[in-house]
Amino acid sequence: MARQSLLAVAATVRDHAIPELEALLRTMTRAPEAPGQADPDNPIIPFGQIEGVHFLRFVLLEDPSLPDRAAYPRLPAYEPTRLMLMVDGDGSPEDILHRLLRTAREGLVRVFIHCDATVTGTNIAAWMDRHRVRSAANYVNWPGRSARQVREEARLHEAWLAVRLAHPDTSPEELWPLLRAAAQDLPLSPPVRPALAERLGNLIHLLSLPVLALLSLPVLLPALPVLIVMLRRRETRDRVIAPRPSRTRNAMLSSLEDHDVTNPYSAIGSLKPGRFRRWLAIVILWIIDWGARHIYRSGRLARVNTIHFASWTFLDDKRRVFFASNYDGSREAYNDDFINKVAFGLNLSFSNGLGYPRTDWLVRGGARHERDFKWYLFHHQIPTQLWYNPFRGLTTYDMARNARLRATYERRPTGAELARFVAEI
């Protein structure tokens, strides 16, 4: 299997089908104890049986911020409400779709029939393929780390932890043979190396940004003063739309959160009208996608360490963007991480959104207006009706540590390295 990909399928929900669809999704969760959290063994879509999945969500894209468009007659007042299926999985999106259908064809029909009454077991594959949407930018915490690797290394850590707990006062040197014995019976697949074609594709993609940047310089440089004036005019005049959060809505969102150490985040909003913002968003998300693929490959997106997967997806002829992520910790801590560690990145990626807190020079201000920014985020956050995490309880740190422990183990550590190895278990 190649590196991880995102499969996203989105289709408009039929008139009046939303309540029924929501009720169906609820039957696949662990509500009322853990609303929104998928039951891996539910009979409709047995998520636990689908191979190579890291995260999966069904989310109804009901946009609470559409009324913001009232002041912008160039933007249509209405956009369709879609059901989005998003799967972060191993292999290509086609591979993921294939595995999904192999396990849960009938269940997927039962869900997507709320979007199209003609969906059947025979046409669902083609139908889902037709309704696939591509993300504009996709971030993966650790490209190439397969679900199988995560699972095997987690089992290895569990086995070692059990050994350590059973021998709390044993020195690292005495513990080593016991740890080796515990690891002996556990399968450890070799790490997946990308195929030649994939490596070549990656290299071409890596070169694409600098080459395009060089090629566009002759046009971009003379145009820069004009572009800067256009940006500054907009930055100083654009309206901020960050209403005080409703406590009732907050309670509803909270009811779905913190049932696991990881949470899903879903948010939707409109882009500011006009070609300038539209093209700026396209270029910036392309750069983010490039950066996520080639620079931020080792456990953090800029300085944010808690995101497993994240994606930005254009909808409705690029009038709207849907942002989805899977992050460790609580929402407040996640927002704070955004503000304090990566405000510049947020400003780049979200400041073309309608109502975003005022930025200066594209990267300054914006998210640093803490209250406005949190209120803006809240205004755009939507509930994730169903979310599946096969690795409950494992943070990005756990996965990185497990991989580190395995690598150290294979080096047969001694001395200080062995002591560090044991300390990390």
Binding site: R164, L165, P168, D169, S171, P172, R244, P245, R247, N250, A251, S254, S255, E257, D258, H259, D260, V261, I295, Y296, S298, G299, R300, L301, A302, R303, V304, N305, D328, G329, S330, E332, A333, D336, D337, N340, K341, V342, F344, R368, H369, E370, R371, R392, G393, T395, T396, Y397, D398, A400, R401, A419, R420, V422, A423, I425
Partner: protein, 470 residues
């Protein structure tokens, strides 16, 4: 702008350790008109009265819950610009309780006060010398009852130590250290460059509404009929501490000779308050940080004080010059493991707690057959943002079993030990001994249980007048 100390209740300025005794009188309002008239007659001590060589003999402070403000006549719409967490209440719903660790025996359903008909409206905080407190508190209590209030409960603190020095909490450790210094005169401007390194002072707006906070923005929304300026949110939690259980558990884990050393590892300080050996780079109790100990060899990564204040600036790599700062901000220097906790300056609490109940030494507590005694801490803290400060510190730093990249470790002192998620245990504690050998403690009991709690608003003097004039 400098804070007008004449408009601020004195608790923001001082914990009044020299006044050895405290009473926490928690009341509900049954007759709003009479209650307001009585409250108008109270003279709370002001921050301007602190210091200047004058020793105060008594200190009175007044704070209100959201239900208290409603009972005094404010409409829900008029209060809507207050902190949502204050309006929801500490025990609002299961998700908040889960985040705060108020689960199991600490769940609000078991609280002695703080919910339903036992949710106080007003906190009258009385501080005085041990000889004076009882009579004064009885008088105030009687007076309040005769003037439109119903008593929920009155709680007492232990008489403080005669000698000066840090107070001790019931497990025997020096407490009340590592307080932030408030920038009363707005001398410092938060800056992206200087704040890359840890600093002990915080902007006044981190504690007082209506002042600039660490983001350079004015804290809170100070419009509306209730004057919020110079007010602060006061968190009050009554935490029962199982002293014999704590020392008994450590004795079983490390033996009578090793129990204190293990306890010091769990707390992250020596029992007398000194930093753990090897961390110190000055003479004071606060002259240390964890930068030289990224792996937790000296002070465990999960130690209580390292969670409560990780002493880290905006960037764990510190200031690096223009290019270095840029590269570090872009995430091109350092690594995830070295950057696992948030900048401390946005998450500081001004603590004003005091111990209660029977006190005993660790040696006494370790003796087999010791009867269980009721002791604990009246945990009080002040902050301007309940979400970003108290709830963040409590939830993301103290209670979280994944704090700082750790795994299956709640706070060794106050962790709830409840498995999370599902059956994944949270009662581990990894540490190194003095020789640098790694150890793991497991199966620790729950040592701290919440007995009650509420979010209060501690108004400024003008704010109090706006409440009683309602």
């Amino acid at each position: 702008m400098a804070v007008d100390r004449d408009d601020v209740q004195a608790l923001v300025r001082s914990g009044f350790g020299s006044l050895g005794s405290a009473r926490y009188i928690l009341v509900r309002i049954v007759d709003a008109a009479r209650a307001k008239a009585w409250l108008r007659g109270l003279v709370p001590t002001r921050a301007s009265e602190v210091g200047g060589g004058r020793a105060l003999e008594t200190v009175l402070q007044v704070a209100f819950t959201r239900t208290g403000l409603r009972a005094l006549g404010f409409t829900a719409a008029e209060l809507e610009n207050m902190a949502p967490e204050f309006l929801d209440g500490m025990a609002s719903d299961a998700r908040r309780s889960h985040r705060l660790g108020d689960v199991g025996e600490s769940a609000p359903a078991h609280w002695a006060w703080g919910t339903g008909a036992r949710e106080p409206h007003v906190l009258l905080l009385l501080l005085a010398g041990p000889n004076r407190i009882a009579d004064w508190a009885s008088h105030v209590e009687r007076d309040a009852r005769a003037n439109g209030f119903l008593l929920v409960t009155t709680l007492a603190s232990n008489p403080g130590p005669e000698e000066t020095g840090p107070a001790r909490e019931p497990f025997g450790f020096a407490d009340g250290l590592s307080q932030p210094e408030i920038d009363w005169d707005a001398k410092h401007r938060p800056s992206a460059r200087a704040d890359r390194a840890y600093r002990p002072h915080i902007a006044a707006g981190e504690v007082l509404l209506g002042h600039r906070n660490e983001y350079g923005a004015i804290a809170g929304d100070t419009t509306g009929p209730l004057v919020q300026r110079n007010g602060s949110y006061l968190v009050y939690r009554q935490l029962a501490q199982d002293v014999t259980g704590f020392w008994g558990c450590l004795r079983a884990a490390a033996g009578p000779d090793g129990a204190q050393e293990l306890a010091e590892r769990m707390v992250g300080r020596c029992i007398d308050g000194a930093p753990l050996p090897g961390l110190v780079h000055g003479r004071g109790l606060e002259d240390f940080d964890f930068q030289s100990d990224p792996l937790g060899l000296l002070c465990p990564l999960g130690a209580h004080i390292r969670r409560a204040n990780p002493r880290v600036g905006d960037d764990p790599l510190g200031p690096l010059g223009i290019l270095g700062n840029l590269l570090s901000t872009a995430g091109l220097l350092g690594n995830a493991a070295g950057d696992a906790v948030a900048s401390a300056r946005f998450h500081r609490l001004l603590r004003r707690g005091r111990p209660y109940g029977a006190s005993m030494t660790p040696e006494q507590a370790m003796r087999p057959g010791q009867p269980e005694t009721e002791a604990g801490l009246h945990f009080l803290c002040l902050n301007a943002s309940l979400a970003r400060q108290f709830e963040f510190v409590q939830g993301a730093w103290l209670i979280s079993p994944t704090f700082g990249g750790l795994s299956q470790e709640g706070d060794p002192l106050i962790g709830d030990r409840c498995p999370f998620p599902d059956d994944r245990r949270t009662d581990l504690f990894r540490y190194h001994d003095a020789e640098g050998i790694p150890h793991i403690a497991q199966g620790m009991d729950r040592f701290v249980t919440v007995r009650g709690g509420a979010y209060f608003f501690l108004p400024g003097i003008e704010g109090l007048a706006s409440i009683t004039a309602r």
